[in-house]
């Protein structure tokens, strides 16, 4: 049978994102896949030359709609490292809460789209119905549903009142109940298993060698999650990544499903332990010494440090410092970032990395963003050859592609 080249995307009924793959097909079997990137390139990194470092927060949020909060968090942590800003503890907890809510809504979105990819329309609607509750929480607490715009350099812009915390907890209880009802369907249903089990297997060695990140990596048996590095409040919350060992589409789906439930627990724990106090640092003339500093973000970037047995010990709930009055919510950061920083946070899709370089002016010299989907494309290309054409949509979706992130 002669080989045929089939263009897959950028517009394809099953793809939520404009990914273009050139598939070489032989008898309905994929023998080669070549990606083309750049369809939605917007040049957001370049904007750092004309917008100042505070305005960049709103710009990096727009790199990706679904995980906007985590992009801003990663960027702000980087700038805070360069400028030596100490973020109030309450702000760290609030960032964790909103970040995890973003993970929940992103995973629910993905679970729905994944169900849609193998034709399970009603499951798609059920997941999105639950997601709507999370979006409501976002709108009520942040002021917007998707691009929440709560992070600023030095802290967060909004606070949660005790009533809001209570309301969030109630909503989470309902959502969790609804999600658990869907658990048997998404994880045990015959049709779902038939379409996912054993499809697109990424072995443990391949995952490591090709640099997979996020659920893709954890689905292949590596217990690696950037949250282990303890950014925001994760250092105090005792976090352990969720791992599956099969490396197929089903394992990745299971990782995301279990992570959704785990994120609920993290949000609850963070609300319970959230100390009172300020939500934003007030920084004047930070970073006096002008020698550029390289601060490698989030301590230790090598695989060995992600030993499965090593996890952060759960610290006892710290006494809330109740008598500090809540200060101004808008951070007043004076001074200019001068130095370099690398920060990593765990996005719903995997590890997000920012490299920031400031040269003491209000514009950043360089903002380099490496998004998880970019890291997950090489593994995707490795698992596509050998699969049937009908499985391509499921496998492509199983990496949770976010092409707007990748192309910025």
């Amino acid at each position: 049978m002669a080989r045929t080249i089939l263009p897959f995307g950028p517009q394809h009924p099953v793809l939520p994102e404009p990914l273009h793959l050139k598939l070489t097909i032989e008898d309905e079997i994929v023998v080669e896949a070549l990606p083309t990137l750049g369809y939605v390139h917007r040049g957001l990194e370049k904007l750092c030359e004309v917008r100042d470092f505070n305005q960049m927060v709103q710009i990096v949020e727009r790199v990706c709609g679904i995980c906007s909060c985590l992009h801003a968090l990663c960027y702000c942590e980087g700038i805070e490292q360069i400028m030596g800003v100490e973020v109030p503890r309450r702000a760290k907890y609030l960032r964790t809460i909103w970040g995890e809510l973003h993970r929940v809504h992103s995973h629910l979105l993905w679970l729905g789209l994944f169900a849609d990819a193998f034709g399970f329309e009603s499951l798609f609607m059920q997941f999105w119905r639950v997601r709507e509750r999370i979006m409501d929480i976002m709108e009520a607490t942040c002021g917007n549903r998707v691009v929440v715009s709560v992070n600023v350099v030095g802290g967060v812009r909004r606070d949660l009142s005790p009533e809001q915390c209570q309301w969030i907890e109630q909503q989470l209880i309902i959502s969790e109940k609804e999600i658990r009802q869907l658990q048997t369907t998404i994880l045990n249903d015959y049709t779902v298993k038939k379409r996912c089990c054993g499809k697109g297997v990424l072995t443990k060695e391949q995952a490591y060698q090709l640099g997979a990140v996020g659920p893709m990596l954890r689905g292949s048996g590596w217990a690696q999650d950037a949250r282990q590095t303890g950014y925001a409040a994760f250092g105090e919350l005792g976090f352990e990544p969720i791992v599956e060992y099969d490396g197929d589409s089903y394992a990745r789906c299971a990782v995301r499903f279990r992570e959704t439930l785990q994120s609920f627990d993290i949000v609850r724990l963070a609300i319970a332990r959230m100390p009172a106090g300020e939500t934003a640092a007030n920084v004047e003339g930070a970073n006096e010494d002008d020698t550029p500093r390289i601060i490698s973000g989030n301590r230790g970037g090598i695989m060995q440090s992600y030993n499965r047995d090593k996890h952060h010990s759960i610290t006892a709930a710290p006494p809330p410092d109740l008598d500090i009055p809540a200060g101004s919510l808008a951070a007043k950061v004076k001074g200019k970032p001068d130095g370099e920083a690398v920060t990593r946070v765990e996005q719903p899709r995997g590890e997000l990395m920012y490299y920031l370089k400031g040269v003491g002016s209000k514009n950043m010299d360089r903002v380099r963003i490496r998004t998880p989907t970019f890291a997950n494309i090489p593994p995707l290309l490795a698992i596509l050859p050998g699969c049937e054409l009908a499985d391509v949509p499921v496998i492509v979706l199983s990496i949770d592609p976010c092409i707007s992130c990748t192309e910025r």
Binding site: Q58, I59, A140, L182, T185
Partner: protein, 120 residues
């Protein structure tokens, strides 16, 4: 299989989760950033909002006393509301109506006189 059937039956008798949109509108939560408003009488034309706006959609002319905002390029981040020294900017929770043409919010205020002029 049985689980989903149970679910389907439950959904058949449950209240619909969608709304008949133009007749049933959800409304917004308190604190939603819907539309930007300015109380032009309190504006001192300091241009802080113009400088801080990430989408650079505000133009303030302190000589003529005009404040204009390209409503279509505003991303409703609320930064200008946070930074305005006289708190004359505010956000209401109703979102801006759809439009067929590009809209600009233009306001004419009284520019603050210089100290010398004010003394005369």
């Amino acid at each position: 299989m049985f689980n989903m059937t149970k679910n389907v039956v439950a959904n058949l008798f449950a209240k619909s989760s969608t709304r008949l949109y133009p007749f049933a509108v959800r409304g917004h939560f308190e604190g939603f950033r819907g539309t930007l408003h300015i109380n032009i009488d309190e504006c001192i034309f300091c241009r802080t909002c113009q400088i801080k706006c990430p989408s650079q959609c505000i133009a303030v002319d302190n000589k003529a006393g005009t404040w204009t905002c390209e409503a279509m390029s505003c991303v409703y981040c609320g930064v200008c509301v946070d930074v305005c020294p006289t708190s004359c900017l505010s956000m209401s929770k109703e979102h801006r109506q759809v439009a067929t043409e590009k809209q600009t919010m233009a306001y004419q205020g009284v520019p603050k006189k210089k100290k010398k002029e004010a003394a005369e």
